[in-house]
């Protein structure tokens, strides 16, 4: 009997180990992405002559792309787990709308007039706006239903996103001269990244990623639904809250310096699921590594295909995202 057990358990360990090479492979891909990101750009490859320029201008952009890509991907995967909804993205509960409104207000008040300030108000306002929107979503969810159920929160998120977006549209309507700036902020850009931006958001993103990684087993338990997870001893509402708070902090920080880069939070987790399986234990670390690689690589075309004006990264990720969904649809159709 023991021999049989040992062999079967060993067999399962072997099955697991086939998946074990995903993480090292991903790290290799990330390193490759870093190298490509460092070497490709308008100023050309790295030489001793332009090293300082590249360090000051291109490298922070690559570093920020890694941080933001990792954060949006892991936040997307975490939200998909916490809400058991494959279409959940990091902006589900209103972070995007709130950040957008915060940024809009700063632009309206006058970006130029705040240049001398000690703290750049733009990231601060968008960070605060993002957090505030999610807080309101939670309050609305608990006022009108049990905030512990995922559906209530999603509905509240939809409501708050609509409301905040409506307010933002109204503000823009009354201040049409800033529309172009706001829109360009919303589309997301890494082109203006500085080392200061990187230092500003790195702590939030790192802490957020660590907290989310620590909860990946909990997300696997939640795959059987709130009721069964609770009967297995989990405090579902509390875990969901922790995951949402951690993901929101990190996402709000990322958005505050890079704007609203879309698709990353859905495309990266789904692509990894198709390749490495749906277990969050494996998915979360992979989304961090491959999400970073993804955004580094998608940032490259923007600065190379310039023709004068830089293509916003949000446009590039959309170009990847839309065909990706079509591929998913085709695969589903083929498998039916």
């Amino acid at each position: 009997m023991d021999a049989v057990v040992a062999e079967s358990v060993g067999g399962l360990a072997r099955r697991d180990s086939r998946g074990r090479w995903w993480l090292p492979l991903s790290v290799v891909i990330l390193v490759g992405a870093f190298v490509l990101g460092a070497y490709i750009g308008p100023a050309g490859a790295i030489t001793s002559a332009n090293w300082h320029l590249i360090w000051a201008v291109r490298m922070p952009r690559v570093a920020l792309a890694a941080l933001v890509g990792a954060m949006l991907s892991v936040a997307g995967a975490s939200f998909q787990g916490a809400f058991r909804n494959p279409l959940a993205d990091p902006y589900l509960l209103g972070v995007a709308a709130g950040s957008g409104l915060g940024a809009t207000i700063v632009f309206v008040v006058g970006r130029g007039s705040t240049r001398g300030w000690l703290i750049d108000p733009l990231p601060l306002a968008s960070f605060a706006g993002g957090l505030a929107a999610v807080l309101v979503t939670y309050l609305v969810g608990s006022a009108f239903g049990s905030s512990n159920t995922s559906l209530t929160l999603i509905l509240a998120g939809v409501a708050i996103t609509s409301l905040v977006t409506a307010i933002q549209t109204f503000v823009l309507y009354r201040n049409t001269e800033v529309i172009r700036e706001v829109y360009s902020w919303i589309l997301g850009r890494l082109s203006t990244a500085t080392w200061r931006d990187v230092k500003l958001v790195a702590p939030y993103i790192i802490v957020s990623c660590v907290v989310l990684l620590l909860h990946r087993r909990q997300l696997d338990v939640m795959r059987v639904g709130d009721d069964e997870a609770a009967s297995l001893g989990m405090q579902v509402g509390r875990v969901r809250l922790i995951v949402v708070v951690a993901a929101t902090f990190g996402t709000a920080a990322a958005v505050s310096v890079s704007g609203l880069i879309g698709f990353v939070g859905i495309v990266v987790p789904h692509a990894i699921r198709m390749l490495a399986g749906a277990s969050y234990r494996r998915l979360l670390p992979l989304t961090i590594v491959l999400g970073a690689a993804f955004l580094i690589l998608t940032d490259i075309p923007g600065r190379v295909l310039s023709h004068g004006a830089e293509t916003p990264i949000g446009v590039v990720t959309a170009f990847f995202g839309a065909p990706f969904f079509i591929v998913v649809l085709m695969r589903r159709r083929l498998s039916q």
């Binding site: 049989v4 057990v5 079967s8 358990v9 067999g11 399962l12 099955r15 620590l214 087993r217 909990q218 696997d220 338990v221 795959r223 059987v224 639904g225 009721d227 069964e228 609770a230 009967s231 297995l232 001893g233 989990m234 405090q235 699921r273 399986g277 749906a278 277990s279 234990r281």
Partner: protein, 259 residues
């Protein structure tokens, strides 16, 4: 083996009280089956025991109230097989049964080798060892049902709650599942509380039946005592004939009412 005592258990959904002061004690190793028409409160009682429904009244295991236990400790005592379990199609059978070990794994921790070998043991006991690596979506209804029972067993809980364990199964798998639960009950000393629609099966496997109607306990006792044509006619609104087999089995057969 553990006993479960329910004292004045009332369950409320919003403003509606769906179970009124239900009182019963299930002895160690016994099998109590809750029967009654739809909406009688059978599932609500089970959900209250595993902490999924707001309730008043006392639920105690071996004399100690469950209310005072943390969710994890409660999950070590009570295992729940829901009526419509959610089986993620892209999860492997092994991972699924491993979820039953959740009460024993620390919050930030991972499962140990002991947990994994426990899961392997449970799968073997249920003749499902070969299914360990299979995705849940590729399994039949009967196989999935056995996996849900396996997951409940992996919890090593002395009390097993089964909500309509056979409703979605064909007659062969119904017998298989109930025989399995009965065998495991005797092997592991489990105390079982089930909610079932099939009255004959309920009488065949359970030690005692409790008939519920609109949240009230009408009568509790053995199959002979509870499964009576008049009783069933009154509370189910059904016309049946109740037959007693030589071996003591009570068989409930609906009668055709038409002309």
């Amino acid at each position: 083996m553990s006993s479960l005592a329910l004292h004045e258990l009332s369950v409320r959904y919003g403003r509606a009280e769906v179970v009124h002061r239900f009182t019963d004690t299930v002895g160690p190793g016994d099998w109590l089956c809750l029967i009654g028409p739809n909406g009688a409160g059978k599932s609500s009682i089970l959900r209250a025991i595993c902490g999924l429904a707001v309730h008043t009244g006392e639920i105690s295991v071996d004399g100690a109230p469950l209310r005072l236990r943390t969710p994890r400790r409660r999950a070590e005592l009570v295992a729940y097989v829901p009526q419509q379990p959610l089986l993620p199609s892209d999860m492997s059978a092994f991972e699924y049964v491993l979820l039953g070990r959740n009460p024993y794994i620390s919050y930030f921790g991972s499962e140990t080798a002991h947990d994994r070998s426990m899961v392997q043991n449970v799968l073997e006991r249920l003749d499902m060892a070969g299914f360990a690596g299979r995705q849940l979506g590729s399994l039949s209804g009967g196989e999935q049902q056995r996996l849900v029972i396996a997951r409940a067993l992996a919890q090593e809980a002395p009390i097993l709650l089964l909500d309509e364990p056979t409703s979605a199964l064909d007659i062969g798998h119904q017998q298989q599942a109930l025989e399995l639960v009965d065998r495991l009950r005797r092997e592991h000393g489990l105390t079982v509380i089930s909610a079932m629609h099939d009255l004959t099966l309920a009488g065949l496997y359970a030690d005692r039946l409790a008939l519920l109607h609109e949240g009230h306990l009408v009568v509790a006792g053995t199959a002979e005592q509870v499964l009576r044509a008049e009783t069933l006619a009154e509370f189910y609104g059904v016309s049946v004939s109740v037959r007693h087999e030589p071996d003591g089995t009570v068989v409930v057969v609906p009668k055709r009412v038409g002309s």
